[in-house]
Amino acid sequence: MNYIEQALAGLAESPPADLERATVVGADAGDLVAKVDSSRGPVWIAWSRTGITGLTPLFVDKTVDEFVDHHRRVAYEADVIPKLLKSEIEEALESGRSMGLSFDLRGLSSFQQSVLRTCATISNGTVRPYGWIAEELHKPGATRAVGTALAKNPIPFLIPCHRVVRSDGSVGSYAFGPEMKKELLLSEGAIAL
């Protein structure tokens, strides 16, 4: 290789550090993630250009790297969270009403998406049995599958899977433990002590 070829090869430059993030997020092939301090405690929130894709309390994933490892989509830490999105999430977590939020459930099965979207219609202060979701989806025999789909809810609190209980009235299982489920339902006035 002569001098000119060497000089040309030496002209290779690294792109700016944030270009990959801008490209992947710009294509809506990946998400951004940021921490939000809410009435439910600090949580990681991930969002795409389409909607919210994930929520995980910091007591589950302590660092953003842990969250990104567990998130179902590629995600990059955001420099800032858009003010409007932040205030909408804080308000939804405070009020228990998340009907106005957009959720992006890509990557989940169509059945799981249907279960979660039906669950998202359950009002603050009320509970529904697993069988209710199955009936709403015209699959009355799919109660167990509904439970499995809810157990993998990537956006807990905002999609209120804690409001789905057993048909005998007991709270049933919950990703963060039955005690927390009971506390959430008590705080929402859905059940009494």
């Binding site: 040309l8 002209l11 801008a22 490209t23 710009g26 294509a27 990946g30």
Partner: protein
Amino acid sequence: MKARDASTDAEIKQVLVTNRDLGFTMLVRSCQPGIYSGARRLTHRHEDAEEVAQDTFLRAYRALDGYSDARIRDLRIRAWLWTIALNLCRDRAGHSRNETARHTGGPNAASDETPIDAASWNRRLARLSVEQRNAVVLRHVADLPIAEIAEITGRPEGTVKADVSRGLDRLRDALEREELK
């Protein structure tokens, strides 16, 4: 989910088929530095190179929607991306030439942020014909083989070889003239 830092073309294509978004992230991580480096020499401003390096992948991502799994497996990734990138460079180079001429009075003025030596090479490269410049940059900055450059530019391999050779000769002449001054 995290994309791996180093992936072969075969791995990228396999993941593009099974998980489009993860495969796309691997594609960007693996190929964007090369596209940016080449675009940096084929456009006049680093902002243009950034836009080319970003738009190339956005267009590629949209194109993938219409591709069958078999077509994705058959892709020659770098040739495919550079075909898109070269068109964008051509558009940006024309646009930038007009912008630069308007603002500084010269088509070859380098950005203030460009290192001196790179700016000199940009000036020398800008004096080559478009065909020679593309061939030299794709061969010696982006490190592509002649066959792929022929595919990207739509010119026969022999012509591409001649473009590279004549481009290098002209760069050598330019350097010698500078040394004589």
